[in-house]
Amino acid sequence: MTLHPILVALRRHKAGVVLIALQIALTLAIVCNAVFIIGQRVERIGRPTGLHEKDLFMVEQTWVGAPSGDDPASIEKLDALQRADLATLRRLPGVVSVAAANTLPLTNNSWGGGVSLKPNQQNATTRSVFYFGDEQLLPTLGLKLIAGRAFNAGDIVHQGFRDTRTPPIVIVSKPLADSLFPHGDALGKTVYFDGSRATTIIGIVARLQSSSTSSWSSGFDYNSAIEPVRLDAYFSRYVVRTRPGREQAVMAAARDALYAANPMRVISDDPGDDNGIRSFAQIRDQAYRADKGMAILMGVICLILLGVTAAGIVGLTSFWVGQRHRQIGVRRALGARKIDILHYFQIENGLIAGAGVLLGVLLALGLNQWLMSHYEMTRMPLPYLLTGVLAMLALGQAAVFVPARRASNVPPVVATRSV
């Protein structure tokens, strides 16, 4: 079949053709960008923390009338309180290990700073977040040590949380080690935190995500350093690993046990995000709730868009089929087979959708560019665009099938009837 008669016929429905093409173009532009946003969010949500996240929970509590934590005597007092809590938690049935930690990945409580190769370097070599914890932290979190050694009890010091001293040794994540020492010889090297705090790398863990999920830490999402310090402050955080399946039971018991051991504290019983005792699954869920929501929202909008556009094609093609009832009858009477009529409408739709998709690709790239210049958005990779193009063409064909089949069922006898 030649395209000529189709093109001639299209010229007689200019407005309708332009409208369908425009609709397909706009749909493609929006769907591509929306799906790209979904893809980015899904990728973000799926990022591993480096922790073994099952059977893990965090306790966050505040002392009431706590000593200031600024003088040696009060630091000793705070540390005694903290060690007592750690012992209390360890005694709970179902607990595998307990560690003191200043923060965890995804909790958005962060201490970060520059890391340099030389003291008082003008511009830091890279940036990192700093974790502080005791010798139980690595096994409790399930971090994978890939070089050097872990901390032992003798390495651990305790100091006030505003104390700016740094212990002589540190464990870093592999990405931090690599950005400081690209040749892979980080072990045993001395680095400087915040320009002046000197420390030596004694171990490297495969992966430990930043405690921050905000844009503040973008660019150094996996740069982490663990300092062998139990921080003493008016608050404390503990990480608890339980035996498989015992997480909920231990979480419930932990609150009562801590209050029984020392009632002068606050463990928030907020039913939501501020609860003092949260499983890591909850922490993860909270950290990515906005991303998940955005992905769902974009997904819903995409579905509506595709539905509306498909329905629009069905509607307009049905109208054309009705309009050309007689012509179809004439063609059938002159010997055209059913399949020829079906193909006619399919090719017609292919042409219109093709034009729409061409315009749509330009619009999609333009929209992506505009979003990049106004919001935190990266360039859309080509596969998104190609998938979008194929999807739109397929959608057009699927939508046109029902009216086209109806057209192909028009009997030849229609040609002989007057209206």
């Binding site: 407005a15 309708g16 409208l19 369908i20 425009l22 609709q23 706009l26 749909t27 532009a29 929006i30 960008n33 929306a34 009431v64 009338g65 706590a66 200031s68 934590g69 600024d70 520059g114 003008q122 511009n123 830091a124 006030g160 505003r162 700016t164 915040d194 320009g195 705090r197 008016y234 002068m264 504290r265 606050v266 463990i267 928030s268 939501g272 995000d273 501020d274 709730r289 906005a290 929501g293 955005m294 769902i296 929202l297 819903v300 909008i301 509506i304 868009l305 509306v308 556009t309 329905a311 629009g312 509607g315 307009l316 109208f319 054309w320 309009q323 979003l371 919001y375 935190e376 209206v419």
Partner: protein, 438 residues
């Protein structure tokens, strides 16, 4: 005549229920998606203190050495202790207050009750009149309470109910971190979103509440630490809270009320003068680089409105446009299918304006139906926004009369707009040609 057109429209719509339903659905969904995202956007981008925002200013100073960490061309978004205290001491604005975030624990009376953590701010007494903070009982404190570091407190209605069981608690004592404070004021219903007075530490939107306000110097003297962000460009020389106060770390928010252009100009000059003095004194080794933004400009600069809500609104508006293009196509098909009817009406003497009236009535009817569907869907959308957006933001999306009216209006206007071209085409139908072909 309008009644007649309505009847004609109704009859025509009934004749092709599928197409009609398609158009109504498409308008309904398009409008609902736009309105739901708009409700969220309206919630987060509203002016938290519209009657006064243009008089409230945030002074910024270049405290970190320029060209290093945390500083591009913009000066820092918070103040260190020394500079905040200098601005407070010089007292050049009508009203002003330095503030920082605190989170002490309060010990309720009565046996068996666990202590609770409350968040709030340490502020100066002028904070309350400056922000027109509503009081249910009592009031804020005066300048003498600030200078004497008085142990007084202003608490929220929520904390009042929690600790004292509600009622007028002015004069009662509240145990904060083991020390007694006299309650001088209980706030009325006050939970501004965003927390415009301290967006740096609260991140703008906050589902928690502000339950406690203490005099700034009282909190400092009590060693009540900063619960917000602390940003340093150098390690403090001394450790501890006192070390923080002596450092150049920034952790204090500041707000000043300036009435009139002249006052703003004078305050700008004062800031420049102050920064130059610091340069002369050797504290700053760089030329003054100050900003004095009013509140709307400050909220904009701090990107308080989450970009997700803007992007969602944009995408939803795109959906509405596609729905409209769709409606244009379907209306065109629908109207031109009735060329014969149009031809007869025209041949019988109906002017083009009648054709316009008839078909725009029909379009308007579809718009109204789409609007009603859109209203229902917007209701569902706003109610379920909490499922996809953070609680603090979702809570701000509200369905009110103005939103309902806007939804209906958008639906009808948009459909009329979509109906314009098809109607134009319908009015161009040649009666002679139609009659002949029949």
């Amino acid at each position: 005549m309008f009644a007649y057109y309505l009847e004609l429209a109704l009859r025509s719509l009934k004749r092709s229920p599928g197409l009609t339903a398609l158009m109504v659905l498409s308008i309904g969904f398009g409008v609902a998606a736009s309105m739901t995202t708009y409700a969220v956007f309206r919630g987060v981008s509203g002016d938290p203190i519209p009657w006064k925002s243009s008089k409230l200013f945030v002074p910024q100073l270049q405290i970190f050495a320029p060209g290093r960490k945390g500083s591009d061309a913009e000066p820092q978004d918070a103040l260190d202790y020394a500079d905040a205290m200098a601005l407070q001491r010089d007292h050049r604005a009508t009203l002003q207050s330095a503030m920082y975030m605190i989170s002490p624990s309060v010990i309720p009376r009565g046996a068996g009750r666990h202590p609770i953590n409350v968040t709030g701010h340490a502020v100066y007494g002028e904070f309350f009149p400056m922000l027109d903070v509503p009081f249910a009982y009592g009031s804020g404190w005066g300048a003498d309470a600030d200078s004497q570091r008085a142990a007084v407190a202003v608490i929220s209605g929520k904390l009042n109910r929690k600790v004292f069981g509600g009622g007028n608690s002015v004069g009662k004592t509240l145990n904060i971190e083991g020390r007694d404070y006299r309650v001088v004021g209980v706030l009325g219903d006050w939970n501004p979103q965003p927390r415009f007075y301290d967006v740096v530490n609260t991140g703008g939107f906050n589902s928690g509440s502000e339950d406690l306000f203490l005099p700034f110097q009282t909190a400092i003297a009590a060693g009540m630490g900063n619960n917000g962000n602390t940003n340093c460009d150098a390690v403090p020389k001394e450790s501890g809270f006192v070390g923080l106060q002596q450092s150049t770390c920034i952790w204090i928010a500041y707000l000043a009320e300036l009435d009139g252009v002249a006052a703003v100009q004078r305050y700008k000059q004062y800031l420049d003068h102050y920064a130059r003095d610091q340069q002369t004194a050797g504290r700053f080794a760089w030329a003054p680089n100050n900003r004095l933004r009013d509140l709307p400009a400050w909220l904009d600069d701090q990107h308080v409105v989450p970009s997700d809500t803007k992007v969602s609104l944009l995408v939803a508006l795109g959906l509405l446009i596609v729905c409209l293009v769709n409606t244009v196509g379907l209306l065109l098909a629908k109207f031109l299918r009735r060329s014969g009817e149009i031809g007869v009406r025209r041949a019988l003497g109906a002017p083009r304006s009648s054709i316009y009236a008839q078909f725009l009535t029909e379009a308007g009817m579809i718009g109204a139906a789409g609007g009603v569907l859109g209203l229902l869907l917007t209701g569902v959308g706003v109610a379920s926004v909490g499922l996809v957006m953070p609680k603090s933001i979702a809570a701000l999306a509200r369905l009110d009369v103005s939103l309902l009216l806007v939804t209906l209006l958008v639906a009808v206007l948009a459909t009329l707009l979509a109906g314009l071209y098809p109607t134009f085409r319908a009015s161009r139908v040649q009666p002679a040609w139609q009659l002949k072909s029949n």
